[in-house]
């Protein structure tokens, strides 16, 4: 066997190690964007990448911040969870970005989390999630369960008079947790357990026939029934199609979804869905000038007249502005300084109110319930009188009801147990 090829092999390894290491230029503020552009999650995440690029462009047009321009660094974790961790490491260690905006799925966040903590980076996470987490380095601009699920259920219970509940979800941690919380909550409200039906389906489930039939059956018991859907992404189109075809309309059994936004609807023939509900903290249809401006900008940026905006985009909008404010406040992009500065920062959201970054790294949000219209938009039928504070640790889970999170000095703890008065688990954050 000729020695040459082996040398080549060795060289390639070396070339790699060298080429991967390049010193980052210091001048612009580097904003890492960690959203899948390929693979299954590209559907949802690629628009968030564009949103960030637009926001950065706008900010630069305003002259950047602290006189420094912002420079986006886009990578593609390709919907592959280990790759998320690797890319996060690449952004922080190699590209030396000052902040990361990214992730959609919980698993991707979980895989990035240790990296961000270890390398003491900043991550803004824009999607509604299951809560039960609070990291010193992560800012959760999406909704926690108490900012979406609970108010939605309240609405159905009080305004619609629902007595029987179907909790249908994709089998992963967000629906599992949300449904656990809702189950406890409903029981606390006196709903008997045989008035609750829980069902889980795999990702991208496309054959809903029997499940929808079951729901129909469950709903024909004479009590007003509603479906609380935590069904994720791709599985929704066939689900709603089946609902429509089996003749379940919103008047009989309304479906309130937590993962269906304008973007998902843009892939569905919405005519049969009119009246079904969704709970979000933002709807494209919100009648508010800030929102209209944002939409106009977005349409202009994408060049598509039918481009839609959705809740995670607003979350990025808020998160980005909060970061900018915090940097101004701190006068530097130094991570620790920004971490301290950002708590309490308040910026306008797109629904005519304000969002504040709370000490538990979650933000205040209004909760809106919208009904699907035939034009693929939601019309708001109900909203919380005031904004709701995101709750990192749910009060309805036995494991976490005693936990609170407060990243301000002196407590500086993500999961402080108010009963034992100790800061559990992740006290050993960021070595450096």
């Amino acid at each position: 066997m000729s020695l040459k090829k082996h040398v080549k092999l060795g060289l390639s390894a070396l070339a790699l190690s060298v080429s991967l290491h390049t010193v980052a230029a210091e001048d612009p503020i580097k904003v890492g964007i960690l959203h899948s552009l390929s693979g299954t999650m590209a559907i949802s995440e690629s628009t968030l990448k564009d949103t960030m690029l637009m926001l950065i462009e706008q900010q630069n047009a305003k002259g950047g911040v602290l006189g420094r321009k912002l420079e986006p660094v886009v990578v593609d974790p390709a919907s592959n969870w280990p790759l998320f961790a690797e890319k996060a490491r690449e952004l922080l260690a190699k590209d030396k970005v000052d902040v990361i905006f990214g992730n959609w799925t919980s698993v991707s966040r979980k895989s990035v989390l240790p990296v961000v903590e270890e390398l003491n980076g900043l991550l803004f996470y824009p999607v509604q999630y299951e809560g039960e987490e609070s990291s010193e380095n992560v800012f959760y601009t999406g909704a926690a369960p108490n900012q979406q699920a609970i108010p939605a259920v309240d609405y159905l219970m009080n305004e619609v008079g629902v007595e029987r509940w179907v909790l249908a979800g994709t089998d992963y941690v967000y629906p599992r947790t949300t449904n656990k919380i809702l189950e406890t909550y409903l029981k606390a409200k006196g709903v008997s357990s045989d008035d609750i039906m829980i069902n889980y389906t795999p990702f991208g489930h496309s054959n809903w026939q029997s499940i929808v039939a079951d729901i129909k059956k469950f709903g024909s018991a004479g009590k007003k029934t509603a479906v609380v859907s935590t069904i994720n992404g791709d599985a929704n189109v066939p689900f709603y199609r089946e609902l429509a075809n089996q003749g379940i309309d919103a008047a009989d059994i309304p479906v309130v979804a937590f993962s269906v936004g304008e973007q998902e609807l843009s892939g569905i023939d919405t005519a049969p869905l009119v009246g079904h509900l969704a709970a979000w903290n933002y709807f494209m249809s919100v009648d508010n000038d800030a929102n209209y401006d944002f939409i106009d900008a977005w349409v202009a940026y994408t060049g598509k007249e039918d481009a839609v905006t959705n809740d995670p985009m607003e979350a990025h909008y808020i998160g980005f502005n909060m970061y900018i404010e915090a940097v101004k406040k701190a006068g530097t992009t130094d991570v620790d300084a920004v971490k301290d500065a950002i708590i309490g920062v308040t910026v306008p959201n797109l629904t005519g109110g304000y969002a504040t970054m709370m000490p538990n790294h979650h933000i205040t949000k209004p909760v809106l319930i919208g009904e699907i219209q035939d034009n693929g938009q939601f019309s708001v039928v109900w909203e919380t009188p005031s904004t709701v504070v995101g709750d990192a640790w749910s009060d309805y889970l036995p494991g976490s009801k005693d936990l609170i999170s407060d990243w301000r000095k002196p407590l500086k703890c993500g999961n402080f147990n108010v009963v034992t008065g100790t800061c559990g688990g992740k006290s050993d954050v960021a070595a450096n």
Partner: protein, 534 residues
């Protein structure tokens, strides 16, 4: 709640006093005032206003209420003028004046305040409108109205229903009304005779009424209700069985459609085409494209999409065959790798050229909804069409393979390439045609799937594995096998699902396939003779 009931009673009452098709018109001022009330009062208040509008006897009332029901009644922020939204897509909406009906052209969304409605109001409206419909000349809409009334009847209406029933000609409507009344009587008055009327009904409201009745303290009623319920449950069991079977068939036919093209490229040509899924995807996107080209005629577009989808996929397939597969003759496992690369490229192509987002494919009316066999069993139309389509495609393929020269040549080439060549069959041409055919069929599958599931870049991936399972289970190179395999796997899956749950069912099916292959290493219908050896 109770106030709402009272209101509704009031509305219905006055509605029924109104002559059938009112020609009257209230003064625009009053109309303006009514609508303003509607716009400004709370949801509870709106209920009352609806009543007043309906009661106003204004001929435009219906139009307003309908517009209101589907969120198209609005007020201009600037002028306070009431408008009906004709098109609410995009950032500028086309409007018409609500009172005069004069078109107002496009207006920026910023200036339009739609009047909010929610489900309970919509409920209200349907019953209000349906009571109006009870007087409509068209029996169909009367039937719909009568059906809609079940469970919504109350004292006010109950008193008038017998009268309505008396001058109701159509028996179906009559029966529906009777049930509606019976439900009310059982529920409100604990009337035992009424139970008899309901004992045959499969309607859920009726069941609900009976179920509540069983709990009543009047033993006679309770007993009667229980017996009635039992009888109903019997019927329901049968219907559910039928339903499950139907579900199985429809899932099966989807599998068959997805796999049948593979059965040709893989089974007949021995090419492991990992890009098969993406060919399906192309078919689906063609459907979408067609609907973009012919806006407003989804049905026609869908029909046209069938040949178009076939062509697009077939051409793509031929391209793949020419550029990649022909270089890999006799290296089946390597075709797997190359075509895997192709599939990646195609997916990303769609993502970048069209969009990573799912595309909306509209279901034409004649495919949406379901055929109601009875009130407990209704077969969804889109699935029914797909089942039919699958069978037609299969029959077509059989014809081509058995009856045409191409089929003959294909079989010849697959059995003994060299010999076929020697007999003057142009093997390469046959390859191209065969692969084109297989791919084209994949395209057809795509057209069908676009009516059932997402049309997006990942469409293919979600079917490729199932397709292979079906083909292998059925026995490579045997179309009948594929058909049988697809249908049986689909049915098994559906039978398992109720007690195993969706995920477990799928797992069990896979395990079943694995074990089955142990028993019959060459599938249901193995290829016979020496050709199959090695």
């Amino acid at each position: 709640m109770s106030i709402a009931r009272w209101l509704r009673r009031l509305i219905l009452a006055c509605l029924l006093l109104v002559p059938a098709l009112a020609t009257a018109q209230v003064a625009d001022a009053d109309a303006q005032q009514l609508l303003t009330a509607l716009a400004e009062s709370s949801f509870a208040g709106k209920k009352a206003v609806i009543g007043r509008i309906a009661g106003s006897g204004d001929e435009r009332a219906r139009r307003w209420l309908e517009a209101f029901a589907d969120n198209k009644l609005a007020r201009l922020e600037s002028s306070g003028r009431f408008v009906i939204v004709l098109s609410n897509r995009g950032r500028n909406w086309t409007l018409a004046d609500a009172l005069t009906g004069e078109p107002l052209g496009e207006v920026s969304r910023r200036d339009v305040d739609t009047i909010r409605i929610n489900n309970s109001l919509r409920n209200e409206l349907t019953s209000v409108l349906s009571v109006l419909d009870l007087k409509s000349p068209d029996p169909a809409s009367r039937l719909a109205a009568a059906r809609a009334l079940r469970g919504k009847v109350d004292e006010g209406l109950a008193e008038r229903l017998p009268g309505l029933m008396a001058d109701e000609s159509a028996p179906a409507v009559h029966q529906a009304l009777e049930e509606a009344l019976a439900i009310y009587r059982v529920a409100e008055q604990g009337d035992v005779q009424a139970v008899a009327t309901l004992s045959g009904s499969l309607n859920s409201e009726a069941r609900a009424a009976l179920r509540n009745a069983t709990a009543s303290d009047d033993p006679v009623l309770a007993q009667a209700a229980t017996r009635a319920l039992e009888r109903i449950e019997q019927k329901l069991k049968l219907n559910r069985a039928a339903e499950t079977l139907y579900f199985g068939l429809s899932l099966g036919s989807v599998l068959v459609l997805a796999a049948i093209g593979l059965a040709i490229t893989f089974g007949v040509m021995g090419v492991i085409n990992m890009a098969h899924g993406e060919l399906i995807m192309l078919g689906a996107y063609t459907t979408w494209g067609m609907q973009q080209l012919l806006p407003g005629q989804p049905g026609l577009a869908l029909i046209l999409a069938i040949p178009a989808g076939f062509l697009v996929a077939a051409l793509a397939g031929i391209a793949i065959e020419r550029t990649v597969i022909q270089h890999l003759k006799g290296r089946p496992l390597e075709t797997l790798l190359a075509t895997f690369g192709v599939s990646l490229i195609l997916q990303q192509l769609v993502r970048t050229v069209i969009s990573p987002l799912n595309r909306t494919v509209v279901t034409p009316d004649w495919m949406s909804g379901s055929v109601m066999i009875n009130e407990a069993l209704s077969l969804t139309l889109n699935r029914m069409v797909v089942i039919g389509f699958a069978l037609v495609v299969f029959a077509g393929l059989m014809l081509i393979m058995r009856r045409t020269r191409l089929g003959l040549e294909v079989r010849a080439v697959t059995q003994n390439r060299a010999m076929a060549r020697a007999m003057g069959i142009r093997a390469t041409r046959v390859d191209i045609l065969t692969f084109g055919l297989g791919s084209g069929v994949a395209g057809l599958a795509g057209v069908a799937l676009s009516q059932i599931t997402n049309v997006g870049p990942n469409l293919g991936q979600s079917y490729i594995i199932d397709s292979f399972m079906v083909v292998v289970f059925g026995g490579v190179g045997n179309l009948w096998g594929t058909l049988l395999a697809g249908l049986s796997l689909g049915t098994i899956n559906q039978l398992l699902e109720p007690w195993a749950g969706a995920v477990l069912a799928k797992i069990l099916v896979l395990v079943f396939i694995i074990l089955f292959i142990q028993k019959r290493p060459r599938g249901l219908f193995p290829q016979k003779g020496r050709a199959a050896e090695g």
